[in-house]
Each structure stands twice: as C-alpha cells, then as structure tokens.
Amino acid sequence: MTKNLRVKSSEYVDETNRISFKFNGKTYHGFKGDTLASALLANDVHLVGRSFKYHRPRGIMTSGSEEPNAIVQVNPGTNRTEPNVRATEVEIYEGLEASSQNCWPSVEFDIGGINNFLSPFFPAGFYYKTFMWPASFWEKYEFFIRHSAGLGKSPTSSDPDIYDHRNIHCDVLVIGAGISGILAAKNAAKNNFKTLLVDEKNELGGSTIFENNEFNKIDNKTPSEWLKKEIEDIKNIKNLEIKTRTSVAAYHQYNYLLARENLTDHLEAKDKINKIRQRLLKIRAKKVILATGALERPLIFNNNDRPGIMLSSAVKKYSEFYGVACGNKNVFFTNNDSAYESALSLYNKGINVKAIIDIREQSESKIVKKVKEAGINIYWSHTVVDTTGYKRLNSVSIMKLSNDGTSVTGSKISISCDCLGVAGGWTPAVHLYTQSGSKLKFDEEKKVFLPNQNTTEQISVGSCGGDFKIDEIIKNLNQKLKDILNINETDLDSIKVEIDQENSKRNIWLLPSDKPLGKTKPFVDYQNDVTAKDIKLALREGFRSIEHVKRYTTTGMGTDQGKLGNMHALGIIADTAGVKMGELGTTTFRPPYTPLTFGTIVGRNVGKFFDIFRKTPMNDWHVENKAEFENVGQWKRAWYYPIDGETMHQAVQRESKAARGSAGILDASTLGKIDIQGSDASEFLNRVYTNAWSKLAIGKCRYGLMLNEDGMVYDDGVTTRLGENHYIMTTTTGGAANVLGKLEDYLQTEWPELDVYLTSVTDHYATTSLCGPNSKKILKKLIPDLDLSDENFPHMSFKEAHIGNIQCRIMRISFTGEHSYEMNVQASYGKDLWEKCIEAGKEFNITPYGTETMHLLRAEKGFIIVGQDTDGTMTPIDLQMDWIVSKKKYDFIGKRSLYRSDTMREDRKQLVGLLTDDPNIVLEEGAQIVSELNQSPVEMLGHVTSSYFSPNLKKSIALAVVRGGKDMMGKKLFVPMENKNINVTVANPVFYDEKNEKLNA
C-alpha cells in the first residue's frame, strides 16, 4: 500500500481526472496536471535513480528543467522510448511508462553501488589517470564503464512520430512567461509590436503564480492573485502569440533563436498518432526580452544528495501548485528568507515542519516573525554537517557555525526528518543571454553573474536580470521596456507594490562539517558525482582555468550542464585559489539549454528527404531495366545494367565490348551545362580555359581545360559555339555548381567590363550519348533528312535537328574514342528520345551502359577524369596535356602559376599508363608505386588512379601518377601489395586506337 501525500486539491491539478502510469514496472496513480515527479512524490516515491559514477541513490531535487537527478527513460522498450528525460518535465498521461536509468539490475539493488564504497579510489581525473595506459586496455575498460554506467537506451526501431520546422519572424520575442515576461509581452503587443511569448512549461505565470507571501502585495492583492488576472488579459491581445511547452534551446547571433515546441508528449499514445510531435521554431526577432527567471541554488554540505533532499522552492511548488507534500517530517536549511515562505506554505496546509536551520545569525523580516509565531524551531548560525538514510533521508545532524563560517563548534544535534528543503539563494538564468554573445559581470554583493554588455537588441528583465524583489522587478522592467520599445508610458506606471523589505543573505559556498573534507561527500555536481573535494584536488594538481577544472573534474558536463552547482564550483575555486569570482569568469554555456531530440533537429528531412538526390529524366527507364545505381554528388547515376544475375565485372565487360563492337547508349544528363551569352563570350572563354577560343567557328565544339589560379586542373568539358555570341559549356557532373560559381566570381569581381551572362541549364536538358561504329546508322534512322557525312557533320561539330517534334541539339563528340553523338533535348523529352534510340538501335543490339563502362572506355583511351586522375595538385603539364595550353595567349586563369619554379620541376608526379607484366592482374586504385623492393624505407613514387581489365584489349590497364613518370616510358616499377609484389611497366596512357581512327569509322 503506497502512501498518499496529496494534501489539498490545487487548481492546476484536476483531481476528477485520475491517471494511472507505471514507474519501474509498478502502477501508480496521479491526476491530470501532474508531472511524473509530482505524481511520484504524491505516492511517496523519492528514489528514482542512481548517480553516474558512484551509483548513489538519488531522488527528485527540483520541479523544473534544471533537474540533475530524476532522469528517466520514458516508455522503455517501445519505438517512442526516450532516454535522459527529466521526470520534473514529463506530464503524465494514461498509459505512461517510465523507468530509472543508471542502475542495474534495479534502482533498489544496484551492483554499481559498490563504486560508492570504492569512492576513495575514484578521485577527480580518475578516468584520465587510470585508463590512459596501456592504451590497448582501453577496450576492456570501456566495456566495463559502458555496461555499468548506462546513460539510458536509444530506441531500436524507427521513430513513428512526425517532426516539423517553422520559421518565425517577430518584432519582439519574450522568453519566459513569469510575471516579467507576461508584463513585457503585454506591453509590447499593446504597442503594436508583433510579439511572441514562449515558456517551457505548460502553464503561464512562472513562480509568481504560486507566490502567496502575504506580506508582498501588488495593487493590494497577493502576487499570484494579481498575476492570474493579467494572464486572463493577455490571452486576447492582438499581435501576441503565446506558445507554452516551448523551450528555447539556443540563442545565436543577430537575435536568431531556436526553440522546441512540444505538441504531443503529454498525450496518450492513441492521441499522438499522425500529429506533429515536436516543432523546431527558427525565430528571427528584432528585439529579444529575456525573462528566463532564476534557479534556486542548493547548499553544499556533507551527504547533500540523499533522496528527500530537495530545493526549498521545489518543496513549495509541489505543495502550492500540485498539492503534494514532499515529506511528513520536513526540515529546511537556508541562507536567506525564501525557505521561510516554503515552510509557511507547508505549515498552512497542516504539514509538519520540524525546524529551519539558518546559517545567518538572524533575520528580522515579517515572514521570519510569522514562522516564529507558528512555533517552528529556528536554529540560527547552524549548519547541517551530515545526513543519514540510504534510499531516503532519515535525519540531519546540525552544529553551530563558527563566526567566520569555516568550521563548526559545540555539540551535534540530530533531527529526524524525511524531507530537507535547501535554499542557497538564487542564480539568474543567464544561459541564453551568454549564448547570444553578450557579456556577464559578477556582482560581488549579490554573488551572482549579471547581464552587463548586450551585443544585440535585447534586455534581461526580472530575476534573470538580477532583480529578485517584486518592487525592483516592476520598477526596472518598466524602465527597460520603455527603452527597448521606445515608448513613453506603460501600464506598469500605475502599479502599486508593497513588499517585505528585509532579505539578508549569508553566502558560504562550501559548508564545513565536523569531519575533514577528505571524509565527507559534499556534492557540487549531482549528475556527474563531483564533490568539493574533487574540485580542490584539481586545484592542488595545478589546474587554474575554470574551463580546465571543469573538464578534469567533469563538473557541469552532464546533461543538465551543471545548472544547480556551477556557481558553487566557481565559488569554491575562487575561495581556494584566493581570487575574486569576477576574475575567474564562467564556463561557456552551450546550446541546447535542455537536450533536443534528433527528430526535432532533422524535422521533415528524414527518409528520402534526408539527403535529397537528383534523378535524370531517364531515371525511370534505368529502374525498369534493373540498373544498379551509383551516387555522383547528389545524382543517382546508372552504374551498370546486369542481365541474368551478372556480376558487375561481367556486366561491364559485356557493355564495353558492345559499345566498341556495335552500339552503346549512355545517359549523360548529369553533366553540368552552362549557357554563356554576350558580346564578350569568346573573350571570356579565352580567359577561363587554357586553350584559344576566338577562332572557334559557329557550329564547332572544343574540349577545354580549366585551371585554378594556382595552375592546377579544376574542371574540363566540351564547349560548343551555338552562335556569334552564344556558347554552351559542359562541365563535370560533380563540378557544375562550383564552376558556375567560379565563373560568376571572375565575371563580377575581376572582369566586370565583360558583357557576358551565365545561366545554369543542367536541369533543362537531357543528354543521350550514342556511341559505337553503328551509332551513325541509328541516328540516320531517327533523322533521315540530316546529312551525317563527315564533310557535313564532322567530329567536334554541332547540328540542330528535329526528331519527330522534338528539337534536338546534336554534338558529334566522343568520350570513348568511338564514333559518337551527344543528343540534347528538353528535359521533359529525355525519356522519349532515349526510348526512340533504344528502339532504333534494336537491330544493332544497342546496349545501355553505365558510368563504370564509361570510365573503362575512356581509360582505354587515356582520357582523364578530373577528380579521379587529378587531385588538385596536377597541372596540365603533369597530365602530359601540354597540347591544350596555349603559348600565345597573354593570360588565362592559372597561366602565371604554370611558370612558377615549383610547377616547372621535372620530378613532379606525372600521369602515365601502367601495364602489369601479368595481363590478368588488375591493380588496385590507390595502390602505391615504388622502384625498389629491397630497400627500407623506400620512396613512394606515386599511386594508381584508374585501373580496369580491358575486354577490348584483353589485358589489365591502369593510369597512375608517378614522380618523373614522363621520362620513365618502358621502365619496370613495382606495386607492393599485402601478399605480393606486382611487376608493372610504364606505358603510354593511350592504350586503345592511338591514331584516333575509330572516331571516323
């Protein structure tokens, strides 16, 4: 029988709507409006997990996104499971299941808990020191660490949910819907600013909504009463969009922010279906108002991590907001007045508050007096020195603090309790503020980092801006709003605020114990199990920079990024090293503020939209004809067309023989195509290609090589002169976009005087390449009235023709060395033309071939592929393509670099052919080449760039780059492989039809 700690129905929890859920396999009940944490606490469940390193039992510490301990796996074993979710943020629904993480076999009995007793052997840097040597042991250590640690389990099947992205442009973005955020949003919207108000919680009002301190009044009402009215008001304001369950994850430069809107996580499984689960909001705001509030700090004392030890503000929220008492015997431990509010909240509901331990000497505020009147024991100048209770807090021991706060005196008093509310003051939530690039300044009096230098149009209002009292908040908010919105009046001008003035604070970062530090466990980072001792050890070992201490001790490196303990870590470092906290600075707060799912990040870009690929107009034909595809850049290209279970090798050998023996057909649509027009088009080509273009006649084609300014080959392709001032350039498939970009760059920035216009037409035309000795006959069948004689239509020339109704640009050019035609038609006719060619070619056994065969055929001819035979370090001279470099032209891109001393060296790597002595051995592409076998070390002369078995030559052929290869014709070299050395001979890279007789066959 579980206990019920529900104390009073709250307006935020619907007691008529009972919900059952499972935690660690056991069924519990809660109400609509509960979080997993509040529902568990109502069932008196505090123990929810184990810590990461020592596997100490841990409970719920907070009521919000800063929770370090209550990290659960939601819906384990399903395809919707999610690890590392904070129980304080999970809204319960019928059928919810959750389980603890970091424990095996169960949270109640955890084998890793042994680490707790071994903890003297796990000091800071333990992993670095121990597992670094010997390196080969790492795998074993890793297995052990991963198995016993376990940071939750990722789903094993695909995510059933839909995710979405949305761009939002607004005048004012307000982050945080506490009192400051609500007032800011209201005034912005009323002044005609398009405003977006977001809050990570599902309810508006922040902490003020359950602020019932009777001594604080706004317009004579309690802050919570007053704020409820404001919340009703803003729901109907024009220009104001309100998004709850929306957490801002990142604040980038120029007021660009990313937020995650949670849409279905709080719904039952049946209601999640076909809905968008989470949406990533990409927000560009003209002005940003940060109203992110403050996080309560814990206090750092011995054994401050037991289940039942919570933030005082969380105890209050569970009581006031969820109607849940966190314990039957409550004690508070504080350094300021806020614990008294929490204590009174419980007291007023009839819950036992046994004592308040206050490290201050006294406080005279009204609320303290009220607590005294209630008869609650207050121990002034006392501190907790130890706690007991393994899976649940049992008692606290307290002692009197010395005047300087560094030691304890007197006798020890033990107070039995099951819940300890800890109040260490407030830390402004400046995480998003610093992400924006803005700078913080340490306030030595308030002991907080505060916004100091804003880099964009933004303000920080409320407690995140350092205002903690309601009168300060309203006054400063009013002025900041007027400044950023550039308005003269707001409706804050007339608000009357009364407050309980006294609020003293005594700050001690590390509270002393009667035991020495080495014997105690004051946790600073709960999630990563970092104690004050670890931080001091790091300092003793010489670490000084806060960033180094962080990495060495792992403090602040958990999924919570140390939201609770970072300030204490800094304080302890400052105290120990004797420096001011302001000088120490902070560690960097990085996005996301709270973890994001992968689904949210990728949005709709999943499945076939993950990496979108481009298909040619003939793609369907290739698919129907069982082509295998290869990815070339973003393109899907037909690779080869296996028949009757052929291997790739068999298919390629067959296709290659057919293309040279009769007729082959290739889809070349992916080649880049740039339309070049303008009266200076010829001059432009002269400047970008290495060869001369002015004299190219209309209707003629020319191969061009394009260099980078450093003289290295950048791209190549055939360009055709269509008219006096009109060319069409082809580029490599992969280079198309970059070539256009490069040409535009020169045109706009270096040669703006040239009258030239460039247009990418790659997608506008489909290209079918017809090749082989029968290609002419096939084309003749398709276009009977076109004179295909060598006189009328010679190699490297162009004709415009019609095939039926289809207008067609035909270039007689060849990348295989065979008589061939490239036919370009409007993309939408591409498949039609292709099918016509196949039909007309049937009698010649026309054979479709893919990219692999194309590569083989061109290698037989010694034609290079830029990017395969070149790698950005090859000049045209290195490629033995001197013939294409004009000596006459005064200048072209890269020309000067060809005359640099380095590019003129004779011993550069140069392109050569390689023949294996055994013609059946095919070299591996990338294999290294040497001239000596019995020498060590031996110089690598170069490597194989292309290698095939040529069915037409019936032997293995290869292209390679070899140091000084140009002068090595006929020389014997070696390709050493793992099990054998292959003897090769340097050869002319043109293996097939050296005299180009086939072109006109």
């Binding site: 880099t455 450093d710 970009g741 020309k895």
Partner: protein, 91 residues
C-alpha cells in the same frame, strides 16, 4: 547565424550566403610581369585579423551577386556592406 543585408535583395539569413575570403585583392593585370614572389603574394597570402576585416561574400542561394562586407571577427558585428567596385568605407 548572421542576418546579412544583401545590397540587391535585402536582409537574408546567413545560410543563403557563401564567404569568399579577403576583399580588395585585385588580380594583377599583367601576371607575366610578376616575379614568383610577387605572384605568390597575390595567390597565397591572406590576412586573418582578429578585429575589423574586409571580406567578400556571395549571395549564393539568392541573386548570386558578390559584394563586400566589413566585419569585426572578434564579435561578428557586420559594420558595413557595399557593392563590388565601390570604395570601402573609411573608418
């Protein structure tokens, strides 16, 4: 993520743009007259300042126009944007 004011299109998100390195490095009109060292100076040497830097940017996924930007690399503040061929603003 910068918000860049393309001189031809207006304010657009940084992801539409491509950075193109240091600005105001003119391609020599007569490269063949230059010594190896002088050519290497043009070809390879670029400043990488922490502070105010003059840069080329291209609205690659927009109007495809190149333009110049003055940017403080220490805080990414864009101080000025002007068209190609225009004189850089004086400090």
């Amino acid at each position: 993520m910068f918000l860049i004011n393309c001189p031809y299109c207006g304010e657009r998100d940084q992801q539409e743009f491509k950075a193109g390195g240091e600005a105001h490095i003119e391609r020599p009109k007569q490269p063949t007259e230059l010594s190896d060292d002088e050519w290497a100076e043009y070809l390879f040497m670029r400043k990488n300042i922490k502070g105010v830097q003059f840069e080329r940017w291209n609205h690659a996924h927009g109007c495809r126009k190149w333009f110049n930007m003055v940017r403080d690399t220490s805080n990414d503040e864009i101080k000025a944007i002007y068209k190609m061929g225009e004189k850089p603003p004086t400090q």
